[in-house]
Symmetry: C2
Subunit: 525 residues, 2 copies
């Protein structure tokens, strides 16, 4: 297997040449193209790419790219436990949390899949025990709220997934506990969340892989202080999710501890105890397992060598086409689902932290663009916000739509002969066509240039399995793009410098004059 | 007064030439530059631009640009009621909601400032009457929750402002009612908000200027249906905020109605009854008036011809420098304040809907870039998410930081010798310097190129007046940029095409084959 910089892959030049030919999908977007350009995904979802600026020659070249850059072989190597996180010299095993797609992965004679399964069993049992009242607060009250303390991957993914399933769970009678989240070191975050809770009914989950995250440790002590002042035994109100080597592990300060290892990065940890504890407590372990099964199905489909049968791979490659040959620096994620309101924020981390890199996997600077800026808000809200620029701005922004036929709560109203869910879906269909085809007008202000590309992931309803598929789809898309760019998508050295300078400020080391004045005007001293 | 396309302004070429000289602020950022590059704002806030890639020659040229493009004269014309919304042929009067900065604005003999003051008085009195129990629910229960039904500008601004002041109001003992928001036509949005409310204690605010917004009318009927089914008299639980000519005005279906006019655009309506009703109900009318006073102060400072004494103007011009001469297509808004968690989403609408235009104020296509993509999340959360790409990605993204010395809730904890608020501020100071200066390293993966520009708005605490100043600062910045680009920042024709196609879908008009298949796969028929 070869690791080539992207611009050294033979097909790179052909793609650059083809970009000049300018496929006008605006005029080609008819019923047949929409019907032809659909790739089945896991959990009954589908990926529609008809409104992308990719013609058959483009697809042919992207298939060549997949082969020449050995994308599936690299995915298999990752699944089989090869050291793909070259920066930190680690395996990358978040897929294994959802089931084995490759060979068993072992280390020092230990089967890592067994370790993941054991932890899944342990926190599933713990969640069931809480639901059955076997664990209670220190004054004997049942737990009715779980509060996750974590930041970054310990917050964004779990929070987005909780919100994505909360309505579904309420409608299905599967909601067990409310979940809340404390993340920011801003004391107003912890203070206001705690003020909204009845502490005697609260179970806190402290999530930090290293056990040294500044924000999370500050918030832990914030919470413990409040628990103690409320006359509660903090050790009966808190569990830890951490690595086995962290100071939080096997510590009597916690009711129990659940483990992850260094082979699961923060932004990929939603499938581990980091997401699993809070989701199993909130909705029951079976719901979390349905989510994992949907993700595992998506992981399996991502092994297909044919890009027209592999939604994650095709999505990745079209993204490369848009980023490196059409030169679009951003992508908007637009779910037509209020439940997915924080899903774009999670994708923002997953994508930008993974592929926002300027060096290749060996640390050498690359001379092509890598990860785009990701942003988004749910539709139809976004339509009344930033869509003006998407339709009529001076730049072109590729769009990723997501939509469902059915609502989650089955609670709707008929106004003007249609239910709100139909209006939501009608807006989505209309936007895809409006962006693609535009509108001519004598009045420049009413002219829509069109030619604005989008793809659509759609399905019947946002269920746990569909959500698992969605998450895995984007994880795998980002992974494939990282392989194309030859970057290491699994470390995050870019977060280190800020940490070092923060420590300097807090220790009063003002050898840098600018840092001193900024600290002064911000009231630090 | 002249309205020139930006590239026809004499100084345009000089700016383009100067961009080639490449000011290395990375090496110039010392204590003196930080101290020298501060512009006082209203409400004790300050604007720091030391870490921007602007040297003294750049500032000189930007001052020339302000003069040649007559930015202050255009602002004065707007204040004095000139028809600045050329697309819809309307005045632009959101500043007048906060007080008169120019001459009295009259129309058909009517003083529009008087009209705005009257409505402010009316909804202030209404809010006080609710607080005093003079209005109650139809079963005699006190209102304890206000629910705003609106979308776009009727949602994003008011919601962001409510969240920005909720903690402050709780800490100051000024919180009167909880506020919630229903915006999306996704039925799960209304359904879940209603399920979280005790309807007999709820007062709903229906907000639609035209009285015809599809999402808002669907959600109104959704809510009324639930009120009726709960045995409540819907007309005793709902007020309207609308224009005097809308079908919602003077309608006995509402307890009362408060008015705005066509001279206040949705995204600029937070200072009107659209933001004023919900904020006055939640926190009391005096708090809303403090907010308006802070904004009015900022509006006044924005009249200064000297760009080094006018934060909004300087911020606008540096943004132009970055967008048109350094060619950065985006800007990140990064408040180090959990209370400002939704403020970037509001700015996303305010900026992108205002200046995401490809034609000038006369409808002629322009040949330069206009509004950038705006995105952001609060720090320190963002540090653990997308900052990797900001530090080490292949593109440069200008950053807008916001930070405060004090928390809002005065509830903090000491860990490792510092309170969380100090850690928050230390992270902010550290990030500015890390982005600007970077770090050299033998290991490419640990190399930070630096040279990533940022500005900082800072102050002691996020109070109502500070929030008003912040809001007006960004409104005025966006206005000045629109003047530079010679676009109409006050209409939004780009939202129309989607509405037309949505109606087609809902009426079963499938003359477009692609639209038909998209509608089919989304389960619309």
């Amino acid at each position: 297997m070869q690791y080539l910089n992207f611009d050294k892959v033979p097909v790179y030049k052909k793609l650059a040449e083809h970009a000049g030919t300018g496929f006008n999908f605006k005029e080609k977007l008819d019923a047949k193209r929409v019907e032809d350009c659909i790739v089945p995904m896991a959990a009954s979802l589908n990926y529609s790419w008809a409104a992308k600026a990719a013609d058959s020659q483009c697809i042919k070249l992207l298939q060549e790219l997949a082969e020449q850059q050995e994308l599936i072989a690299k995915y298999k190597a990752l699944l089989n436990g090869e050291m793909m996180n070259t920066g930190e010299k680690r395996k990358v095993l978040h897929h294994l949390l959802r089931g084995e797609q490759g060979q068993p992965v072992t280390e020092d004679g230990k089967n890592i899949g067994d370790f993941y399964r054991k932890e899944l069993d342990r926190f599933s049992s713990f969640a069931s025990a809480v639901h059955e009242g076997k664990y209670k607060g220190s004054t004997g009250k049942m737990f009715n709220t779980v509060v996750q303390i974590g930041i970054g991957g310990s917050d964004l993914g779990p929070r987005a997934l909780y919100l994505a399933l909360e309505n579904w769970a309420e409608a299905e009678g599967k909601k067990k506990l409310n979940a809340k989240f404390i993340s920011n070191v801003d004391p107003d975050d912890a203070s206001s969340v705690i003020a909204s809770c009845a502490l005697e009914n609260c179970l806190f989950i402290l999530v930090s892989k290293s056990g040294t995250t500044q924000e999370t440790l500050a918030n832990e002590l914030f919470v413990k202080d409040k628990l103690t002042k409320a006359g509660l035994d903090a050790s009966k109100h808190m569990i830890a999710v951490t690595s086995e080597t962290s100071p939080l592990a096997r510590n009597s300060a916690y009711l129990d501890s659940f483990y992850i290892d260094d082979y699961v990065g923060g932004r990929y940890s939603s499938s581990s105890a980091v997401g699993g504890c809070v989701l199993s407590l909130a909705f029951g372990p079976d719901v979390f397992k349905e989510f994992l099964a949907g993700a595992a199905q998506a992981d399996k489909l991502a092994l297909n060598e044919n890009i027209l049968e592999n939604a994650a791979l095709l999505d990745a490659l079209i993204g490369i086409w848009e980023r490196n040959f059409l030169n679009y620096p951003y992508t908007a994620v637009l779910p037509y689902s209020q439940a997915l309101g924080r899903f774009p924020a999670h994708l923002q981390q997953m994508d930008m932290e993974s592929n926002g890199k300027r060096v290749n996997r060996n640390g050498e600077a690359v001379s092509y663009n890598t990860g785009p800026v990701i942003f988004g808000e749910p539709g139809t809200n976004g339509q009344h916000s930033f869509y003006q620029l998407l339709h009529q701005g001076t730049g072109v922004i590729p769009l990723q739509f997501i939509g469902f036929s059915d609502s989650q709560r089955n609670d709707d109203v008929i106004v003007d002969n249609s239910i709100s869910q139909k209006k939501l879906a009608a807006n989505l269909a209309a936007q895809i066509v409006a962006f693609a085809k535009g509108q001519q007008s004598e009045d420049g202000n009413k002219e829509f240039p069109g030619g604005r590309p989008s793809s659509l992931i759609y399905g019947k309803k946002l269920t746990p399995a569909a959500l698992g598929c969605l998450l895995a789809h984007f994880e795998n898309k980002v992974m494939f793009q990282g392989f194309v760019w030859n970057v290491n998508s699994f470390d995050q050295e870019g977060v280190q410098l800020g940490k070092i300078l923060t420590k300097k400020v807090l220790s009063g080391d003002f050898s840098d004059g600018a840092l001193e004045i900024y600290s002064k005007i911000l009231g630090i001293f």
